[in-house]
């Protein structure tokens, strides 16, 4: 479970940046917290708020956001085995708190150890949604007086993590490159 913490740290940086953006558009910190806890879809929240800032048409922002979220059809569908047998309320909780990071971590760990299941998914999901909600709210409160954390490579953490997980699925370096 501790493996979710570096990912949570990466999400916190994005969350903080999103909070700054949302505050500039006019969202109060509690509005940002409400959105983060109810929507819980980082990249689509960023796109929606950017769209909303450019043109305050809710439909356009919602459609742009929904298009980004379509991958969750596949992500949640792939959880079918993990969620099997859970009461409906736990299924609904689990799919709401599932994000790219805790989903990929759960599937990667499950590929190594089939006993990994719903408790791991839900536990890591609770960590991620809590960190996301708190960091976005904090970003909205604090304002824009921090250095650009992207240049220190922290934003690259997600890409590196996904590269590690694809190794777990056997999508590694083609044999022709290995001699």
């Amino acid at each position: 479970m501790i493996t979710i913490l570096p990912l949570a740290a990466g999400a916190a940086i994005y969350g903080f940046a999103f909070g700054l953006l949302a505050a500039q558009v006019g969202f109060p910190w509690w509005g940002v917290a409400l959105m983060s806890s109810l929507v819980h879809a980082g990249s689509s929240q960023i796109v929606a708020v950017e769209q909303f800032a450019a043109s305050p048409a809710v439909i356009g922002a919602a459609l742009a956001s929904a298009a980004l979220n379509l991958r969750y059809i596949g992500i949640v569908a792939s959880l079918s085995d993990i969620l099997d047998g859970l009461p409906l309320r736990f299924k609904l909780l689990a799919i709401h708190i599932t994000g790219d990071e805790n989903w990929a971590l759960t599937m990667s760990e499950r590929a190594k150890n089939p006993t990994i299941g719903a408790p791991f998914l839900i536990g890591s999901g609770i960590v991620m949604i809590s960190v996301w909600t708190l960091s976005t709210s904090f970003g909205a409160i604090v304002g824009s007086n921090l250095p650009n954390l992207e240049e220190f490579g922290l934003g690259f953490a997600f890409t590196a993590a996904f590269i590690a997980w694809q190794e777990g699925y056997g999508v590694g370096i083609p044999d022709c490159f290995l001699g």
Binding site: A48, I73, G74, I75, S78, E151, G153, F156, A164, V171
Partner: protein
């Protein structure tokens, strides 16, 4: 907070949750069909898509760091080592670039 903000938040929340529900229904439907094997392939497919989307249009620094991360992942098969190594290479390349090396 104006009405538009409230509407945006609740429309986004409804859309996001509806898509997740759709995934839940799709998963159960596919699992009960002869195409259940698709569910086994989805995770790898989505992860590769996320990596590709992360790298598309990025500069040389990101691609070199991605190559380093891939090498570390291949050698260690460990998420944290891969993240630390990839981030370190990325930061080092940025530092070298800022120093004019």
């Amino acid at each position: 907070m104006s009405t538009d903000f409230w509407v945006l938040i609740f429309v986004l929340a409804a859309a996001a949750f509806s898509i997740r529900i759709l995934g839940l229904v799709a998963g159960d439907t596919i699992k009960a069909s002869k195409h259940a094997w698709i569910l086994e392939e989805i995770p790898g497919l989505i992860i590769i898509s996320l990596v590709a989307a992360s790298l598309t249009g990025q500069g040389l620094t990101t691609w070199i760091a991605a190559g380093a991360a891939l090498a570390i992942a291949w050698l260690s098969n460990h998420v944290i080592w891969t993240m630390c190594g990839g981030v370190a290479v990325f930061a080092l390349l940025n530092f070298m670039g800022s120093q004019g090396w």
